[in-house]
Symmetry: D2
Subunit: 500 residues, 4 copies
């Protein structure tokens, strides 16, 4: 489909796509596909106030009823899956299957959140005092600001929104400046769900703000936005986190990853090769969970590199709209330059580079296409310890598992990690208290591609936030511990006496 | 018992109590009871490094075995309850029953933590892929810095330490400069438990640092202390929180409260009066959960004030070592001056003050004794919205429950709150999403005196941290989401296809 | 709509409705609406064997994928809500709103079960041994036999089926002989969902058997049907339970209720009257949670009876298909006779009866229409202690709450109960360990009409089973406790030594 | 120590040990060590009535306070560990280390239960109706009858009692007729704890009945004993279960096991051999979790048998009081005869027997000492499928894992199981939905020796009960689902309308 066809199918009118100040480019060929209106910074106080108003009403709507809105959102997403997936491809450059997979993730979290809406379990707790009852309840928290990145332009919003809505919190979304169209399209889909849902949904329940960092700063600074869920670079998070903390807000940070795979001697190498290739080059290496470091046992390292370079050479690079393409473009030229620069630095540190060249033939002109790079490193250098948002995979060797875990943990980030091994002891050691220090630790699957049922997020510079499954929903609510005395006595805890 | 007898019973030698640079005063009479050694700031890196070493060993000790150490600590605390309680009285000025109650709280949390040590439950989670299994596991996190305040000189440490130890984390404790002796005594008690426990406890598992803010700053700044649990003023928390966040640590903040009670027309006034008096003047108004605001329905406000002034007049003020005393001294003269200043400001705002005078007769000389103050306010002024760490209780009137809840929530702090009512609808509304915005919300008991089974902490400027019961232990661990693929296939989540 | 229109709308062909041996009557007018095929008892072994085969395949389908089938079932139920609701009215005699409500309950449980399908949480548990990990996992259990009653002809099946399918268990359904058509219609709806779901659903995943008690006995007796979920009379349960237990199966029993409401002096009587009327006469008194005993404080008892008799007199009795009707027919003449007989017995025991007459005018001829009866009793007699499946409400007086609770608990059944009071102490006492002994205990709402989010079921002769929400799903799975030793040591639990 | 010394140390007086009608023999040498009083069957109604009275008081004691009694029990058990352990050795014939291990298990469960006493968590649940709140609470259930077996004469009681007491339930204990002395000694220990605990413990909180099956039958038959926790043979359970079910009680059954180990080609054979020997011959093969079937991969089967026969030959058999002994006597001569008979049958089915002879030299005369038997079987015969309570280990071969799992599951019992393998795929398959069908499934540790943190029990003829850790405590409580309406509206669930 042409750019225009995709935009039309996603429901955009010409008017929406022009007349604004924010140019939007397709990474496929670098063409400007829209120039849209930006939210004036001056509007932010009113937007936040509207969200607070919405909160006052929404928190009173019973949670299962709130869940019904999310269920309708899931239905609408199912209906619009193809169109929204294609738009993700157009605006973020993802290959078709991944564009659709991202929408599927939105659908999955909606299903999950609907179930949650009849749970949101607190606790009843045994009290030490006769005639007393103790309870822990979870209540809505207030507006949730969502700051999302270009690489998951819609799924991250939906993770947060599905949970926040069910938990009783309105949302205000500031998407990446690079991907406003998928954001607008998602809001249209949500608007259809709200339309069907009816008047229980207050105005301002879910708002979108389009524009630059100033908008995000307004969210980050406002005491009236108690939750800030921010996905992006560690640099961004290092600014957002302390600011939100300083005004007593709650930051949920999903920042950089520098994800590794350990390949043990007993690994099923066929599986490992397939997992490595997908994890390292999928989404052109632009997932936060992209595999960036390969820690291979020295007994199989050479064979692995040889098989990988062969596999890499076979990967179809090009227009992500084509069904056969596996590697689409980087998001922009700046990304490509940073990739090349990092490869240069790695080379200077002793790295032996396979691939990593610019691709210009058989690809749409204007896009930032690259070969994925495999870089054999003599050791874990500074460059390896940095996250570069591009398909560079550093290869390191190891002799003992303890050493391999040390290398895996020896970076500032703590998002995702995995081991390929058929050995129980190695697998379990990797998952134990002395194993991987990441929020995600897998065995015999790659570091990327999490299911929504588990909590998603990581430690150290990854920011410590958790989203998606498990009890991540608690991050969107406030906890209340209550004791009700239904007796006519007034005993004190810990047996304290105070009689007058 | 004399000061010396108490110190001797607590196991102090003359040598320990002299020759240092930090003077310790008893609030009972302002005398200097010790001059102890301070930890040089220059030692902090080594102390933190030792804690990291201890972590490497301690995390490998099975949790139920770690629980055994905490069980022994509970036993030792039981044995030393009287002595440690008396020392709390001497150093913090608490009345005897409260000094003992504080130790009981330490004992309770030990019992609770022992049980936890065989739980620390993670989850197994249904995976969407055949031959895959998904798990969430909680692992030890690393050293936990504990910064505690004078008003609960030992219980807060024990809350944190019992959980941290069971969770696999060493601790480094910086107590208030005003209460180092109770800290030293607690460490001796722990040392006895460690001695019985044996060699599984690594050196440096629990360390104490004595001295000024510089020591706390070293903990706050260090990347090697991933958890900082800080109890104290909002001002302190506003500095600690962002700093810890900025270096990717996890702050657990328990800061100021400005706790209120709503007294409804249907309230059992006899019970309410008793609850108010204890909550407002217990610990001389120096609990973080002390009742500071009384929001009384206008139909019963006058009667309530009349009964309270009568009750206040009957309260025995004096030496906290005497069994009959209910109100001991403030921690120091500075506290008393701040109290008087606040009363002055309240008066200027239209407040009608009952009590609040300095007490000098029938009390030990040198201590900062005061009458508790009841201040009828025309409205919730700026002064009322501030937390003053002294026994001032502001009285406000209301007509509708909605209005009363608005007043209750109309302060920057969010720790504890309660309502006295016999009406189901009022009680439940107060506990609902549109009710109290505090971390603690009670019915027919005062705001202070939490049981250890519930999570303790509050929202807004109270800092958002949770300690003690429920799943507060998760604050001391890191979460790991794992997927193990035990099949020979490699499906991707969300049905993504990537075949090469 | 005419009988035929309803049957046609529900998708029945003439062929299906005739030629069989089981006559089906509409309680609306007693006409025979179908004569359908019965499942030969001789087929049961093959049916059970097919279910076991289906189990072998279905347990391997990942739970979230199993959830997708249930989601589709929910979609199909939404599409067919009006038609299935009307059929419930035709075959079970429920009024229109209740017929639709029953289908809504099916939809709700589907939504809930979809969320569950990504949870089914087990635990990871702290192990006392180094290098060991302990886990609790929930696995599919095997075929689940469902025996349901006429009064919830489809919802109970759906409660069980939605959970069982998500949990990995095939189902075999034996509905009441009085309501096979709604069962067949439900299976058609499920078949449409399975059709859309595709080949992951094995043949025999959900089977229906139509006929008499012999079919149920075959399920109850078979070792290959590990779970028997039976809803119906205590008499039935008293046979099923021990038989299932004797062959090591797991009975989930939902049997009789004798549900009471306590009305306290402080109760909001307007609300109480409305709650009583709905609870006592809704579904013509044929819910397992129907209100059967009213325990009114003597100070308000007369007023309450007076208001109730007035309200009863105003209730439109008649054809349940008419929008204005609130009381439809009893299921059959036998029911009406049992009702009249019980009223006679109550009268003989001193009861004063209001209403309870047969209704013949302005109602379809042939149906068993009755006025609901209010019977003031001098005390809780044997007749009161029995459950009569008809709209008889016994009224008893009380003076103290303790006495009222004693009366409430003084029956062999333990399903549902409630109190109407505005008093916190009374409400909480009723909910406490010394309060109601029922599985359901409400405050200020009637005993009937449970939400699906909570566990449904009761104690004593009600059978002890739990279905629907909370962790009722565990009843459909088997629990496995695992310890994995990934160390090279072999320590024994409890420190036992055994060295050879 | 001599028999008398052990009895005296355990606190028995001569008077207690004589004059009764129940002879007690030591399996060590068959001597009668006591002749004690039996509880007259006629006393059972009064005993049960007393338990019901105790229940009325105990359920009101706050759970954390109930936990304090269990904590004191744990303390007393620590104090009496050596004496009680020795008595277990004397009366049940366990070797010293196992006698002590059994007491340790009692201590462990006490610690665990103390923690539980501040939890007993119910749920708060999101309600679909505005102004409503939904809660699930767990309440005390009533008297718990405990029927225990000779092989864990005291631990099983303590598992049940620690949980039951914390849950608010009194207990009535009927121990095995073969081990009444350990029961009496345990009750004395508990009496000391109760003495220290004080008057909150009602009379009759924990009662002991000594005698034959009639006493158990009285418990099983009584409606006033809602919970029957019975440990013993499948035969016993097949009688108890249906009877308890028939009178609406709750059976918790821990019956026979026929526990297997699969040894895969990759297994660490050194570890496997050690695990097999302990699991198969520990407690002279008289644990319910004793290893009874060895399913060895044909590639290593012969080697394994060879190493095992060698190991078996080296095991010191004899007086269990001697520190070096690893195999003590069987409980009595009847047991030995049954063992020999089973070996005979196995031989007739083609079994090749190693060991299994009577031992008479170097052992105390009068005891039923035997060599443990290793029996290589051509296939899984009827004899193999039976549980024989003696040290017979049947060895079977296999070629594929699927086959091995089929053999493992191909018996009527479903208690414990394990696999020895270093292969991740085999290990996880064994633990998966298609793996072991037992309640316990381990990897690289034997089937016996469970930690108390996990739920203990099994499926199929093992009875389905769960005791000890996880949420087994729920088996001792009743669940209550409550909805509180604190609004002034009366909406119905599922949107049902009923306006009159």
């Amino acid at each position: 489909m042409s750019h225009n066809d995709i935009l039309t199918a996603a429901g955009f009118t010409g008017q929406e796509l022009s007349g604004g100040t924010l140019p939007v480019f397709s990474p496929i060929d670098g063409t400007e596909i829209a120039r849209i209106m930006e939210t004036p910074a001056a509007d932010m106080p009113a937007i936040i106030a509207k969200s607070q108003e919405a909160f006052k009403a929404w928190r009173k709507v019973p949670a299962p009823r709130r869940g019904e809105l999310v269920r309708l959102l899931g239905e609408e997403l199912r209906t619009s899956k193809a169109e929204l997936g294609a738009l993700v491809t157009l605006e973020a450059g993802k290959i078709t299957s991944e564009g659709l997979g991202e929408v599927q993730e939105m659908i999955d979290i909606c299903d999950f959140a609907v179930g949650l809406s009849r749970q949101l379990y607190g606790l009843t707790i045994a009290s030490e005092r006769p005639g007393h009852k103790m309870t822990e309840t979870w209540h809505p928290m207030g507006p949730c600001g969502i700051i999302s990145a270009f690489n998951f332009p819609v799924a991250v919003w939906c993770w947060n929104t599905a949970l926040a809505l069910v938990c009783g919190d309105p949302v205000i979304w500031k998407p990446s400046e690079k991907t406003p169209l998928t954001a607008i399209a998602s809001m249209k889909i949500l608007a259809r769900a709200i339309e069907r849902f009816g008047s229980d949904a207050p105005e301002g329940l879910a708002q979108l703000v389009i524009g630059g960092a100033g908008l995000g700063e307004a969210l980050v600074a406002s005491k009236d936005v108690p939750i800030i869920s921010a996905t992006g670079s560690t640099r961004m998070g290092s600014i957002v986190g302390p600011k939100v903390q300083a005004r007593w807000g709650r930051p949920i940070l999903e920042l950089g990853g520098n994800n590794a795979m350990i390949v043990a001697p007993s690994a099923d190498l066929d599986m490992a090769v397939r997992a490595i290739v997908f994890s390292a080059v999928g989404t052109a290496g632009q997932r936060c969970t992209t595999l960036r470091r390969l820690i291979a046992h020295n007994s199989i390292r050479e064979e692995l590199v040889s098989r990988l370079t062969k596999a890499y050479a076979s990967l179809p690079i090009g227009d992500p709209r084509q069904a056969t393409t596996l590697i689409g473009p980087l998001i922009d030229q700046g990304s490509r330059e940073r990739m090349l620069a990092q490869i240069g630095k790695a080379k200077a540190e002793g790295g032996k580079v396979h691939g990593g060249h610019i691709v210009t033939s058989n690809v749409p002109q204007g896009g930032a296409y690259v070969e994925p790079a495999l870089v054999e490193m003599p050791e874990q250098t500074d460059t390896v310890r940095e996250e570069t948002f591009a398909p560079i995979l550093y290869v390191l060797g190891y002799d003992t598992l303890e050493e391999a875990i040390g290398v895996q943990n020896g970076v500032p980030q703590g998002l995702s990690s995995c081991i390929f091994t058929l050995n129980v002891r190695e697998a379990e050691t990797f998952l134990s208290a002395t194993g991987s220090d990441c929020g995600i630790a897998n065995v015999n699957i790659g570091p990327s591609g999490a299911e929504i049922g588990g909590a998603f997020g990581g430690e150290k510079e990854t920011g410590g936030g958790r989203e998606s499954g498990s009890d991540a929903w608690k991050g969107y609510m406030r906890r209340q511990t209550s004791t009700v005395n239904y007796s006519s006595e007034l005993p004190l805890a810990q047996g304290v006496k105070f009689d007058f």
